[in-house]
């Protein structure tokens, strides 16, 4: 009854009050875990059996051809720093493309996202329309967009920027609209009760609520853009990818190596920068 003062004074009788706890038995799912593991393993093996329609993995070919790769790897391990000055301009172009694409997409993503989320757009038809178009947009691989756009608007940075723009819109609109769907929206009832239109409610309350969600995805889009725009050059959509493809064509793997290193540095720099920004914003 008076256990508290005794415990506080540290009297020797205190342990006598301790009784065994009746912990309910922990549920065990060993059998289920084993079954799932076996199923995953069996499925993985099955996908590697050409006889039943799986992919063909010829491990023997590694033994045959590994020498071909070694010379390339040796070259790659010796980045040619003398080539660095020639990469500045295309690298700058890559970063510019990434930024322009990300900023343009950020601006356009705001109305599109609010259109695609159920709380901010109660109209099922327009919401479905925006979502469907965006799903189609996301289903097209970036390189396909870039190839088609290079044919449409010519070789250079422009098709690259448009590709990145479309790619970013796809990511931001999908992820942020789904986050808005999942969030709590009691403030909307207040806006409605005050006689506001959906537009007013979205602009004055839903948008400030969604800023951190947007900021997160915009920064993520910028990060992705640097990586992707390095590849887009291969199909002629500007940036350092064009130079990379050219040096690869000349088998100048020391030059390729320095370009890869540069991209790595820029990607890490942008990642660090966006992490700093994110901490401020969120």
């Amino acid at each position: 009854m008076s256990a508290t003062p005794r415990a506080a004074s540290g009297a020797p009788e205190a342990p006598a009050i301790r009784r065994e706890l009746e912990v309910p038995p922990k549920p065990r799912n060993t059998l289920r875990t084993v079954l799932i593991a076996v199923a995953v393993a069996a499925f993985t093996v099955a996908t590697c059996l050409p006889a039943i329609g799986g992919i063909e993995l010829d491990l023997a070919s590694i033994v045959q051809h590994w020498r071909n790769g070694v010379t390339k790897l040796v070259q790659l391990a010796q980045p040619n720093f003398a080539f660095l000055p020639r990469t500045w301009a295309p690298l700058l172009e890559t970063v510019q493309m990434a930024l322009v694409g990300a900023v343009a997409a950020a601006l356009c993503s705001i109305p599109l996202t609010l259109w695609a989320a159920a709380p901010t757009n109660p109209n099922r038809f327009t919401r479905g329309l925006v979502r469907t178009i965006n799903n189609v947009n996301r289903a097209v691989p970036d390189l396909v967009f870039a190839t088609v756009l290079v044919a449409m608007v010519g070789v250079g940075a422009l098709p690259g920027v448009i590709t990145l723009f479309l790619f970013n819109i796809g990511i931001v609109v999908k992820l942020v609209s789904e986050a808005i769907d999942a969030a709590d929206h009691r403030y909307m009832e207040a806006g409605r009760a005050a006689g506001g239109t959906q537009f007013q409610i979205n602009r004055a309350t839903a948008l400030p609520q969604a800023w951190p969600l947007f900021a997160n995805q915009w920064l993520y889009a910028l990060e992705l853009n640097v990586r992707i725009s390095a590849i887009l050059g291969i199909v002629g959509a500007g940036g350092i990818g064009r130079l990379l493809d050219e040096r690869r064509g000349f088998y100048a793997y020391s030059d390729v190596s320095i370009i890869i290193l540069e991209i790595l540095v820029v990607v890490i720099a942008i990642e660090v920068l966006s992490n700093l920004l994110r901490r401020r914003l969120v």
């Binding site: 009760a193 005050a194 004055a204």
Partner: protein, 278 residues
């Protein structure tokens, strides 16, 4: 205290300039939700301008539904709801928003945009009174700005105007919500369980704010509440709801414990009272 408020009103020169208090009338109102739940059954009420009325009942008794039929957040299935010159139950679209612009409402969960500033939240009350382009640009008119700031001042939290709403305490949030409703320059004030999320001292303070709004502005105030002592202490008239029907309508102060037991449909328990003013 009240004198200083009167002085402030005189000094500012404008307080609810064109807001006359409105009558509320429900005529044989029934509400059935799509799932088939009958939330209200044949409710008829008449509330005169300037009355301070509590609606008492357990959760699920139809209080929230009743109060929402008055500003059209819930549509009536049968009957009609009239507020001032507006037949709310027949309004749609622009006309409904225009009418709602004159009906203030506060909520149990405060319903603020937590990441927006107190200022932006208060300006929500000006939605129906300002053009959409001003909301788009985020630039309120000088008049709207003035009304919002005065509303914040009247509930004593003008010093928090640039704070994020989410950074405030529960009592402060409810005050912002009251300021938001007041900046509508409303003719009727609705409150849906305004103190159910607050601790007892804050709950009393918020109820006193509503009492003051009723007394000073002569505003019709309708408060949903489940605590019997708050209903007795702060309101003049009480409407008891049970299973969507009106089972009591009369003086709040004179309501006996037996009346409350009839409203609750069970004996009175300690949790039906908040406790004395701290």
């Amino acid at each position: 205290m009240s004198l200083s408020h009167d002085e402030r009103r005189g000094a500012s020169g404008r307080q609810t300039p064109d807001a006359a208090s409105w009558r509320i009338a429900l005529d044989h109102v029934s509400v059935t939700y799509p799932g088939g739940t009958r939330a209200l059954q044949d409710v008829s009420l008449s509330i005169e301008p300037g009355e301070m009325v509590s609606i008492v009942g357990l959760s699920g008794s139809g209080k929230s539904t009743l109060i929402r039929t008055i500003n059209g957040l819930v549509g009536v299935t049968e009957g009609s709801a009239t507020v001032g010159p507006h037949r709310i139950s027949e309004l749609r679209g622009r006309a409904l928003r225009e009418a709602r612009g004159h009906i203030g409402m506060i909520f149990q969960a405060f319903n603020l945009a937590e990441r927006a500033s107190v200022y932006r939240n208060t300006l929500v009350g000006r939605f129906a009174h300002s053009p959409a382009y001003r909301t788009l640009l985020g630039i309120p008119s000088a008049e709207d700005r003035d009304i919002a700031l005065r509303a914040l001042d009247s509930v004593g939290i003008l010093d928090k105007v640039w704070n994020r709403a989410g950074a405030l305490s529960g009592g402060q949030k409810q005050r912002v919500a009251i300021a938001r409703a007041l900046s509508q320059e409303p003719s009727v004030m609705l409150a849906d369980e305004p103190v159910a999320s607050l601790d007892p001292p804050t709950a009393h303070a918020v109820m006193a704010d509503l009492e003051r709004i009723n007394a000073e502005r002569g505003l019709t105030v309708l408060v949903n509440i489940h605590l019997m002592d708050l209903a007795r202490q702060y309101t003049n008239r009480m409407i008891g709801l049970r299973d969507g029907r009106v089972v009591y309508d009369g003086s709040a102060a004179a309501a006996t414990d037996a009346d409350f037991e009839q409203i609750y449909g069970r004996p009175i328990q300690p949790r039906d009272r908040l406790g004395e003013r701290a």
